[in-house]
């Protein structure tokens, strides 16, 4: 008895919905207002922390921050400290120093509703001051087996007061995991503008820029971040939606 009543109601609902659908539709505009949080977002680079623990030849730390200027434009920057040892067959070198990067992030992602995720392109100018210590090196000599002579210099030589300036393009995303907590990932393409060349040596690594290449001025990097948004004020995001409305 009860079953037949329920099925009867369902059938009626079904028909009524079809009946509604068949009615003439008209498009109207609906204006929605969402509150958008503006403020300072501060975070740390997780990949550098992880490498500090996992890799013997790397110690690094980076704090990043951005400040939202307009709907899609952020003032952004990173500050960090790195120590990296490069060890190959022929030389062993430790680079130590700090860096600062400043620039903008441009959000290219159209968010749904009140979400505040980012897929962004960033532009930075970076500067670093550092020192390099050539711990040991060998003299490359393809004929050294003749005199059975392997020239290795063990005494360290330190090059201090080195600087480097570069420009950087970032592409990345930041997603809100929980309220105000963001996870981010980005890739960085860099171009070294200038660096102080040590006498009779070269900069193998520039903190913030990462390793250099003999054949080009291009550098690369990546970042994995966890950041927290400190909301300072809120702004309305007005979304005009086209909505189907029945007459």
């Amino acid at each position: 008895m009860l079953k037949s009543i329920i099925s009867g109601i369902l059938v009626m609902l079904l028909f009524s919905s079809i009946a509604f659908a068949q009615e003439k539709e008209e498009i109207t505009k609906d204006t929605l207002v969402y509150k958008q949080k503006y403020g300072l977002r501060l975070g740390v680079d997780l990949s550098k922390l992880a490498r500090t623990f996992l890799e013997d030849d790397y110690t690094g730390f980076e704090i990043m921050g951005d400040y939202r200027l307009t709907k899609n434009l952020y003032l952004a920057g990173e500050i960090g400290n790195e120590e990296r040892t490069i060890d190959n067959e022929i030389l062993n070198n430790t680079t130590k120093g700090s860096y600062f990067k400043g620039g903008i992030d441009l959000n290219m992602y159209k968010n749904w509703l009140d979400m505040e995720n980012m897929i962004y392109a960033g532009f930075r100018v970076g500067a670093s001051t550092f020192s390099q210590k050539l711990n040991s090196y060998s003299v490359y000599n393809t004929n050294n087996q003749y005199w059975n002579e392997q020239v290795s210099i063990e005494e360290g030589q330190e090059f201090k007061g080195l600087t480097g300036i570069w420009i950087e393009l970032q592409i990345g995303l930041k997603a809100e995991l929980f309220n105000n907590l963001f996870a981010g990932i980005n890739v960085q393409l860099k171009g070294l503008i200038s660096d102080t060349e040590p006498d009779n040596y070269e900069n193998l690594y520039v903190p913030g820029f990462n390793r250099t290449y003999d054949s080009s001025i291009i550098g690369a990097g990546y970042g994995l971040s966890l950041s927290y948004l400190i909301p300072i004020f809120k702004k309305d995001k007005i979304v005009v939606q086209e909505k189907e409305a029945e007459e």
Partner: protein, 187 residues
């Protein structure tokens, strides 16, 4: 749904960029190419003492570092030239200590066949080449490290009263490549 697909595309793009960025870190910079000019050898050429512009073969020349072998009877890695008619040779130099005068000595033996044969009445003629210079270490690249160049080159030969070398002329006092001959030996 469309937007979700777009986001997926973005993520794929990001991940592939990371892969490219990390693969960049292992390229040709990390291998010292064989064509790279590193520590040069000393290039010597033998000229005719009477007609000084003409190269002249040294008959049955044997050339080796002093102290590495004595009176070699077979061709090994130690003999730079062994029992051959030659008018040039490339000599590896001992690098030694940077900034200090280092000496490398080579035995140059003429008419080696006379020593090797059964006849004891004829012998080869051995002269000793003494090469002195100051090493200087120069940075090449991260993969090749440093090389040594040699400055203030002087070359003398011991005068034992029975020398086949008549004179030595140092053409380049700074040896930093193997493009030109550094020392001419007249005989």
């Amino acid at each position: 749904m469309k937007r979700l697909l777009k986001t997926k595309y973005h993520i794929v793009f990001l991940l592939s960029s990371i892969v490219i960025a990390t693969s960049l870190s292992c390229e040709r910079d990390d291998i010292c190419a064989e064509s790279t000019l590193t520590t040069p050898r000393l290039l010597i050429e033998f000229y005719d003492a009477t007609s000084t512009d003409d190269l002249k073969n040294v008959p049955r020349l044997t050339l080796y570092g002093e102290g590495l072998v004595t009176d070699p009877t077979v061709d090994t890695d130690t003999t730079i030239v062994y029992n051959a008619n030659a008018n040039s040779a490339e000599l590896p130099l001992i690098i030694g200590i940077e900034g200090e005068t280092t000496t490398t000595r080579y035995i140059i033996e003429k008419d080696t066949n006379l020593r090797l044969d059964e006849d004891d009445t004829t012998q080869s003629n051995i002269d000793i080449l003494e090469i002195a210079y100051v090493s200087e270490l120069q940075y090449v690249s991260r993969a090749c490290g440093y090389k040594s160049v040699f400055n203030e080159l002087t070359v003398i030969f011991d005068n034992d009263g029975d020398t086949w070398i008549s004179s030595i002329q140092v053409i380049e006092t700074e040896i930093n490549n193997e493009n030109t001959v550094h020392v001419k030996i007249y005989h």
